[in-house]
Symmetry: C2
Subunit: 191 residues, 2 copies
């Protein structure tokens, strides 16, 4: 069950006239709200999901770390940056950087000494409240006894040189929005 | 009611063991599927939504066209590129470029003579099948009698110089993922 700030926001925003919870799931909730938007009453189907993090990680030999996994929603295997949803701890979302460090270690068995925040982005603000916090992680060190992967995740780890990544990006073989934002940010900001 | 290819994919993928439709809405459907992923049975909450388009449009005096609107899901007014969901026509999704041309005209009263495709991206592939087709549109001409805006949309049109856009991007004031992808793409590829 998801009980947190965002849900309360859905229900209590000054613009909400009525709210009906349709579904209360493990990773998402669904609401149908009647909203008063600039004087007009409109019905909106809204999905609530925890915020998440994504980590663009560079190995000491300048490779970028990707995870490849099957994504049921799109029925494809996708190349993505390490990522995950932010946990609730006693009713509050944990710090995004704490999630980022944990997800990097769980998914890749790396820890990073250096973290830079790229920014915060809404992935589909027309219907979904999911916000992603994106980071660049450098100075990676492999961990001997890393945090275990989630039991229901089957992830393949792939480390690629810059030229290979550029080619994947240019040919639209990287289709995950968060991963594209982080890679383009890196290309625009590298020294 | 949404009846289309993606829904069929959700239900018939070789990996689906059982599927239950929880909700059948105006802009999204919700399923709970049991999936066989690499020999492991896992339960997944999946949201089906129509694919969409986004248009990064440049006026003849080199300004970029944004729409600012209230987004109930995130309870914020966001600066975004013109965008919209792809219609179903006789059970098939229309060509994304047709949607892009219509949405640009409806939301901005511009038509464009020159269209370049940036790519196709999944905005949240962990739970949502939504795919976005992104374009750059140039050689804009203002239309005297444009297609009308959707009745339940309240949109403010804003045209900004490159320097202003760069500042918004750098300070994370543009939070919509699709808009960030398109702006970064333009910065990486401009002549």
């Amino acid at each position: 069950m998801l009980t947190d700030q965002s849900k309360i926001k859905f229900q209590n925003s000054g613009k909400v006239v009525t709210t009906e919870q349709i579904f209360n799931g493990h990773v998402l909730d669904l609401y149908v709200n009647k909203m008063d938007i600039d004087g007009q009453i409109v019905e909106r189907e809204l999905v609530h999901r925890h915020p998440g993090v994504g980590v663009l990680a560079f190995t000491p030999d300048e490779k970028i770390v990707f995870v490849k996994q099957y994504r049921p929603a799109v029925d494809e295997y996708l190349m993505e940056m390490p990522a995950g949803l932010i946990d609730l701890v006693e009713g509050e979302f944990e710090e995004p950087l704490i999630t980022a460090k944990r997800e990097l270690e769980e998914e890749t068995a790396y820890q990073a000494a250096n973290w830079e925040k790229i920014g915060e982005f809404y992935v589909s603000p027309g219907a979904l409240d999911e916000k992603l916090h994106l980071y660049v992680a450098t100075d990676l060190v492999r961990v001997d006894n890393p945090l275990p992967q989630d039991e229901d995740e089957q992830i393949e780890l792939i480390e690629l040189e810059k030229a290979e990544v550029l080619n994947l990006l240019k040919t639209n073989q990287i289709k995950d929005a968060k991963t594209v934002i982080a890679l383009q940010y890196w290309l625009l900001n590298e020294e």
